[in-house]
Symmetry: C2
Subunit: 248 residues, 2 copies
């Protein structure tokens, strides 16, 4: 695989660096081929959004953080793409706020689970996932595996880059579901109580930068349906604004 040197001044520097990181983690066996395709979908939506955390995203993030910190047992679910894109930020976040992280992957293999758990261990964070003793109802055995001490008993789950079936199943278990997905139209986005339409790395960086006064109380006043509508409207408007041709 040929790597191009990405100049720091490139307008899409962050996005191109993220893509490179993902390919590295694919080569390490943490990201799957399916994960690469998913990432491309995310890139397209982020391109339309303009690769920035927009006001609707910031608002959802404040509500999410407030909710997570007021939960009895909030768990962050981490798959291969999430570990590759924002492993460091998630480890920092989990340490700062004492939130549980659980490895949970769509294409299950023991080896890939171990690699994700080891990745976080090397960053000084112990994550759940190697003792999957429970099953999310409504999913087949490979997809539903989770830990009774983690996702299974959590009251709030943050599911970045998650599959729609799993989001729906978690919702049916009565959990408060916070999704993080650049596609506001995805089933995952639709099933969530709080839908964050933003990039996973930017979101965790924002979580780390907010002061308590920024987010405190934001979960009670948050209206998810209208926030998602705002995200979709923003994207439609931005697409339309890019229409001037050929001086794009």
């Amino acid at each position: 695989m040929i790597r191009l040197e990405i100049p720091k001044g490139h307008p899409r520097y962050e996005s191109l660096k993220r893509r490179e990181a993902l390919i590295d983690f694919y080569e390490k066996g943490i990201v799957t081929v399916s994960g690469l395709i998913s990432h491309g979908r995310g890139e397209a939506f982020d391109y339309i959004i303009g690769e920035k955390s927009r006001p609707f995203a910031i608002e959802a993030e404040k509500a999410a953080l407030d909710r997570i910190l007021n939960s009895r047992n909030a768990v962050i679910s981490v798959n291969g793409n999430v570990a590759a894109l924002a492993g460091k930020e998630i480890a920092d976040f989990a340490r700062k706020f004492g939130v549980t992280v659980e490895a949970n992957i769509f294409y299950w293999s023991k080896e890939r689970m171990e690699k994700i758990v080891s990745l976080f261990r090397r960053m000084g964070l112990e994550v759940l996932g190697m003792n999957q003793d429970a099953l999310i109802p409504g999913l087949d055995s490979n997809r539903g595996k989770c830990e009774s001490a983690g996702i299974f008993s959590a009251d709030t789950v943050l599911i970045p880059l998650e599959d729609g079936d799993r989001a729906e199943a978690l919702k049916k278990m009565g959990k408060f579901v916070i999704s993080l997905d650049l596609n506001p139209l995805s089933r995952t986005s639709r099933y969530s109580d709080i839908t964050i339409v933003d990039d996973v790395t930017r979101t965790f960086r924002n979580f780390l930068e907010f002061r308590e006064s920024d987010y405190s109380g934001h979960s009670s006043s948050f209206n998810n349906a209208s926030n998602v509508k705002e995200a979709i409207s923003f994207m439609a408007d931005r697409l339309r604004s890019l229409k001037n041709w050929p001086d794009l």
Copy 2:
């Protein structure tokens, strides 16, 4: 890699089958990791378009076909993703109309070139690409390689799923450039004389289905800038129409 059985009635059946084909061709060494990410980007734009050939696409396709058939030496450039997604349709098209096809890839390797050429040979079509004796000016030696009997001397080139640098370099050579890209905002789309905003498989199927009276004369009246604007407006409108929440 676990494969899910995709039911024929699934609303996104065609898209999911295409993704599966792409992964097969990745495993065969024809598609690259970078190609998988690119495909994801295309999927997102196609999702917004609604996974159908819309009127702006049909109009661009008619103009493109008219232009190709009235060229002295039109060449279709084929990379790994294009071969994987629409190899059969392109072979049928090239045979029906006697149009030259040339393998031309972004991450060059002799092995991958041979695999693409062999793939077409097995479908009964000889394609150029194994005798790269010329260089597109302005590109480095690996990216600029092409055949003097093919892309180098072509008056018209159809470049599906092409990189922006190469599209620009071909345009600077004075060629009539027809692009095929689901992202109407890409540099490739911007540099083209005719920009087809459609899926590559659907486009070649449409080429094969048009009768002469459908497309004859359409290249002279075609206005590319206004057609691309129409594509972008359509996408913005469709996004906005998908806003109704939660009854998406």
